[in-house]
């Protein structure tokens, strides 16, 4: 069997075993809660009876996956260089509010309006990530502490902005604070036509977020950038061996800054699917926590765009079942337990299969080079 295929099969087998184990563990928990694991898993896969329910279910899953995917990409860029950007959380929140506000200040043709919003989001995210990067390269401040602190600062800044300078008009009796509405030209067209193409009804209000396309492009672009360009090579080299990278002419400070800023710029886009596709403003019930989930998604996806996509879809798939599980009288926190166990077990399985594969490859290499032949004793 070719080594590549063998390794791929082994990885898949490992992941499968891990997921089965995770299922077993959650089943025990579900039984302990006095519910039926079968019902629970039926709920996981049951997207509903009517076509409309199915479409809604799929849309929920994908819509959840899109920001998670982007968050995973943002975190992965840092990880590739051994930079731990915990600050994705703060970066995307600040970027989202600034982009939402800027987007509501003017009206332009849709393409331009959306483009401006995206650029602002990326710029704000990147700039906010620049702070820990500069602190690291000039003063040697550990980026983990800096980004943890900056997360809290970002939450407060966003709260200040949304209640102060960036606040929008509110209907009487409305208690949510939010930025002004983005004009319709800034709404990202949805992808409901995909369902319609298959003769299915369109999903719910916001529909299938069109930002999915941007996310896919971003994933492909990032893959190209990391795997096929000099910059990607420098990132990889810095991550694998910083001193070798330095000796080979890579500027570590420049790399820290560019990787961090790139990570932050991508992070800036995390909030946009929701804002452009659904809410059209940044408000106090903007989805938090995606930055932290992004860490899990990135690691589960092994910091590679393809893997991150799968991990994000898996998380989206599980998160979708929050409602259906409650219909089946199963505590929905089972989902979080499953996510945690899957992350842990999949990496354990990865580790085990990696060792098996390595062993096999060594054996092949040794065979290729010829066996140790006995030599004559000449003394």
């Amino acid at each position: 069997m070719p080594a590549g295929l063998y390794r791929a099969l082994l990885t898949v087998a490992g992941a499968a075993v891990a997921i089965v184990l995770a299922v077993v563990i959650s089943s025990v928990a579900i039984s302990a809660a006095g519910a039926s694991p079968l019902d629970a898993f039926a709920a996981l896969f049951n997207f509903g009876e009517t076509e409309r329910q199915v479409v809604n279910g799929i849309t929920t899953m994908v819509n959840r996956s899109v920001p998670l995917f982007i968050a995973g990409l943002a975190v992965a860029v840092g990880f590739r260089m051994n930079l731990f950007n915990i600050g994705v959380e703060g970066q995307y929140r600040l970027a989202a509010i600034c982009a939402a506000w800027v987007g509501a200040q003017f009206t332009a043709p849709p393409l331009i309006q959306i483009l401006v919003i995206i650029v602002v989001a990326a710029a704000v995210g990147g700039l906010y990530a620049l702070i820990p990067a500069v602190m690291k390269v000039t003063r040697g401040v550990n980026e983990v502490i800096a980004t943890i602190m900056l997360n809290y600062i970002a939450i407060n800044l966003a709260a200040f902005l949304v209640r102060g300078p960036f606040t929008g008009e509110r209907a009487a009796g409305q208690l949510t604070t939010s930025t002004p509405q983005i004009p319709e030209s800034g709404w990202f067209p949805n992808l409901n036509w995909i369902f319609e193409m298959f003769g299915m009804p369109a999903p719910r209000g916001g529909g299938l977020w069109g930002f999915l396309l941007v996310a896919v492009l971003l994933g492909v672009g990032l893959w190209l950038l990391l795997e096929r360009t000099r910059f990607g090579f420098d990132v990889k080299a810095s991550g694998l061996n910083a001193s070798a990278a330095l000796a080979s002419g890579v500027k570590p400070k420049k790399m820290v800054i560019s990787a961090m800023v790139l990570s932050g710029a991508i992070a800036g886009l995390i909030g946009l699917p929701e804002i452009l596709g659904d809410k059209h403003s940044f408000g106090s019930n903007f989805t938090p926590g995606l930055g932290f989930l992004g860490i899990a998604v990135a690691l589960l996806g092994r910091n590679k765009p393809g893997g991150i996509a799968i991990a994000a879809l898996l998380f989206g798939f599980l998160d979708r079942a929050q409602g259906p599980l409650q219909f089946a009288d199963v505590p929905p926190s089972v989902i979080t337990i499953m996510q945690g166990t899957i992350v842990l077990l999949v990496v354990i399985a990865n580790e085990v299969t990696r060792r098996i594969a390595l062993r096999r490859e060594e054996r092949r290499a040794a065979r290729h080079l010829g066996a140790n032949t006995p030599v004559e004793v000449t003394a």
């Binding site: 329910q53 929920t60 209640r163 009487a172 208690l175 106090s284 409602g323």
Partner: protein, 332 residues
């Protein structure tokens, strides 16, 4: 709990009676989506659930209640899942549902919706609003009357507009009694960081400072952080005012019970039940129902009898508000 509300434990936590999927006798299927924290949070959500339970037992309704994910990202989805499962009416608990209810109401025009703490924004939506500022006004009157020194305090969990309503009413109430009163105000976290409702330690530190500075009574709208306020009051030998439910009953620690002079009640259970009942009677949405002093949707609890001696004064203030002689501001 708490993204919507600074509430603590609810007075009316009904004992659970049978499974909620029990066949309905009336054909009435009521769906309810909780705010973050979910059912059993002994708070805002539980108050809503108590109303739902009542609808179940008294109106023979079939009920289903769902809790959102920890980050609240699937609020809209829960409403749709309830709608698709044939529930009508559907209630969203907490102002965070405002936008989602609006969208869902457009998609399901044949279903009646209600949203707690947010105004109606579609023909088939009923807004269930509370005049927290009016109840808080009374709390302010009580505090100012009881505090000899004229020094009182307010601890808010999260600095959002809902909690600011509590502050505004309270301040107005205090000032109405003693124009030169000193009122310390502290919030624990900014809008968007809901940990302020779950930080008894921070509540304790903030209230401690107020008591050390001479405050005699501190009113809290800080969810579970209120526990810290009660502890600080107990340690300082001073008083506190609870919120949402009658906390003198729901807080189980004896030493803390005695510091709770009164609580500002917010009858979410009543609002939910009344809405379901009205729906059964054929009412349609498109309007807001305001639960204010007039309908006793808000008010002060009297357990412990500590404010019985100033009942007249409170009743007078209440009457002035009900009669419209006083308009209580909703913003500080």
């Amino acid at each position: 709990g708490g993204s919507g509300n600074g509430g603590d434990t609810s007075a009316s936590t009904a004992s659970s009676g049978g499974t909620s999927s029990e066949a309905s006798k009336s054909g009435l299927k009521v769906g309810l989506a909780f705010d973050v924290g979910g059912r059993g949070d002994k708070s805002f959500n539980d108050a809503a659930y108590a109303g739902l339970e009542k609808a179940k037992s008294e109106l023979k309704a079939d009920i289903k209640e769902l809790s959102p994910a920890a980050d609240g990202s699937n609020r809209g989805e829960l409403l749709r899942q309830l709608a698709d499962a044939g529930y009508n009416p559907i209630i969203g608990v907490g102002f965070a549902y405002g936008e989602d209810i609006k969208k869902a109401a457009e998609e399901y025009p044949d279903i009646q919706f209600a949203v707690v703490d947010s105004a109606s924004n579609a023909p088939n939506v009923t807004g269930l609003l509370f005049a927290e500022e009016q109840g808080s006004y009374l709390a302010g009157v009580a505090a100012a009357t009881k505090a000899k020194s004229g020094h009182v305090g307010f601890v808010g969990g999260v600095e959002n507009d809902l909690i600011k309503k509590f502050e505004a009413g309270f301040v107005a109430g205090v000032k109405s009694v003693k124009a030169d009163a000193k009122i310390d105000v502290k919030y624990l976290t900014p809008d968007g960081d809901f940990s302020g409702f779950k930080a008894p330690d921070k509540g304790k530190v903030a209230a401690e400072k107020m008591f050390q500075d001479g405050a005699e009574i501190v009113y809290h709208a800080a969810g579970d952080s209120g526990l810290g306020v009660f502890q600080a009051a107990a340690a300082a030998g001073k008083k506190a005012i609870g919120v949402d439910s009658d906390q003198r009953q729901t807080v189980k620690e004896a030493d803390l019970q005695s510091v709770i002079m009164t609580s500002m009640l917010k009858r979410v259970d009543v609002a939910v039940f009344e809405f379901v009942k009205a729906f059964q009677g054929g009412a349609k949405g498109g309007s807001n129902t305001v639960y204010d002093l007039k309908v006793d949707g808000v008010g002060l609890s009297t357990t412990g009898g500590e404010i019985d001696d100033i009942k007249d004064k409170l009743d007078a203030a209440k009457k002035d508000i009900v009669d419209g002689k006083i308009t209580v501001p909703a913003k500080p």
